[in-house]
Symmetry: C2
Subunit: 313 residues, 2 copies
């Protein structure tokens, strides 16, 4: 696969007998595909981050469920193993619930294409918030890789770039797994958008120097009151952005909004293996944090731009 | 060297014909000594971070200058090469200026021991600010390795630990060179102080969960108005600490205070090689940032505890 070919199918697709994924753990050094031949193998790919990003894992789970149906697997067991692969993203369960009545490849594919279409609409809504010459900062990877196609936060940056409003993107490297320096920079290079990777801890310094106009991220789950869970570090960026009077925009599909979760306090935060930090000393490795609604300037979904106080229903 | 033996001499010393340094680039995997046989080799060790930390590079430069004198090197050239090894720390030039009148091994050794003694006094002053059961967060390494002996910020933690006031230390891993997870965790393990390494971006999340009582760091240069340069990321921690109503303490010897620099705006910020971030995409790698005095709850030197507005003279 050439890097210019970041199509929905190149990220995740269903073939005869397998869900085929671009293995995001190997990027940017190698562009390798991973074949998952059962729901359990898809769940394992989700758990080990071969595919990651809330919308993309929803799409992968939908294909996995269709695969399980075509193989005659026990669908309750398939649902369970896929739903439990990661705890924070709500899109995972949402996508599986969409599949229950019609566990077919066609249904999964329709879900996938609808996800890509939603991203494009989000991008258009979000880029309307950008002024000319914007220098944006983003965290983790909310791109085509994370959404199965166009990207949520990166979709907004793509749309702003196409409209001539975007000057530069600062890419938080995003420790410990470096989704920023590995995946977001790889996508921005493919898109020809000017960018530079920074250590996560350099973001506030850049803001103090006037080098950042806005922060744009995705989200893994948004509570009914607008509190948003996203990759660890987003909350610190939100605090720093507020301190410097800069807007923080969260770009995410409606499927990310969990009306059954009243506030961020009820969002489960995944604790990942401390070994990801690569130290032999004791370590603590939360994968997500929660940004309170009060620190989020706008939440942009495919339905439009929401402002605080947030009312989604 | 066993890890229990973190003596001033084990970190840096002058032998016949060489300054001998514990190579901090190899820690914690290997405890190797580096022999520098000229002022230029000492400068190279400083530039490449074999020895780092503002007070420790001052001590290393003093030994390097004494070595240059004993070898009959051109002392103006030796001064220059050492002073220019790194731009942000002011202790480097301060230590060299202390050596000019008497460029002897004895003078360098006295400077070294005075540095260790200052750290112990700072630790005593700083720990008086700690309440019982304190959970402290520190960034980078302001320990024995950084100061040639006892440590500035870690000196404060040591003193608080000995007084039974310290419960736990959160160690920012400190990208890109991981001085926290490599060096600070190594020192805290040797000292038997409970600790856990975190991704830098997890600090604000920990604060929001009530898991941090104070932030304690060193500094590479403090301006006359109290603005303080320190490892990139300190400023973001300061903003987050202020947001959560937590104190930020800076522990540093008087030699770090540069009365000739009126404010932080005049402190040169070293830009280091983007390759340190380990990405093949464009990157930007400032090594330090400046925390404005207004965000610093106290600056603790060997002379005592200073509070804003800062007047050091």
């Amino acid at each position: 696969m050439g890097r210019g070919d970041l199509t929905p199918e190149s990220i995740v697709r269903l073939e005869a007998g397998a869900v085929v994924l671009l293995d995001q753990r190997r990027l940017p050094d190698e562009e390798l595909e991973l074949r998952c031949e059962s729901a359990a193998e898809v769940a394992e790919a989700i758990r080990t981050l071969a595919v990651r990003g809330a919308p993309a894992i929803g799409v992968a789970a939908a294909y996995g469920y269709a695969l399980a149906a075509s193989r005659g697997e026990d669908l309750d067991a398939a649902y369970r193993v896929l739903a439990e692969a990661r705890p924070t993203a709500v899109n995972l369960v949402w996508a599986l619930d969409q599949m229950r009545d019609e566990p077919t490849p066609e249904r999964a594919r329709a879900l996938h294409l609808a996800e890509v279409d939603r991203c494009k609409r989000m991008g258009t809504h979000a880029s309307a918030l950008f002024g000319p010459g914007t220098k944006a900062l983003t965290h983790c990877n909310a791109g085509g890789l994370a959404t199965g196609g166009y990207g949520s936060a990166i979709g907004a940056l793509r749309a702003a770039w196409e409209e001539g409003l975007l000057e530069h993107v600062w890419v938080d490297e995003t420790r410990p797994l470096l989704q920023g320096s590995r995946l977001t920079a790889w996508e921005l290079e493919a898109l020809g958008i000017p960018h530079a990777v920074i250590a996560d801890s350099a973001a506030a310094h850049l803001m103090s120097r006037g080098e950042v106009d806005c922060v744009v991220t995705g989200s893994d789950r948004i509570a009914a009151n607008g509190d948003a869970a996203n990759k660890i570090g987003t909350y610190g960026l939100a605090v720093a952005a507020a301190h410097h009077g800069l807007p923080l925009y969260i770009v995410a599909p409606t499927s990310t909004i969990d009306l059954a979760t009243p506030t961020g306090a009820e969002i489960p935060i995944e604790q990942r293996d401390a070994a990801e930090l690569g130290t032999r000393f004791p370590a603590w490795n939360p994968a997500f944090d929660v940004t309170p609604a009060a620190l989020i300037s706008a939440i942009i979904t495919e339905r439009g731009v929401f402002r605080p106080p947030y009312h989604f229903s």
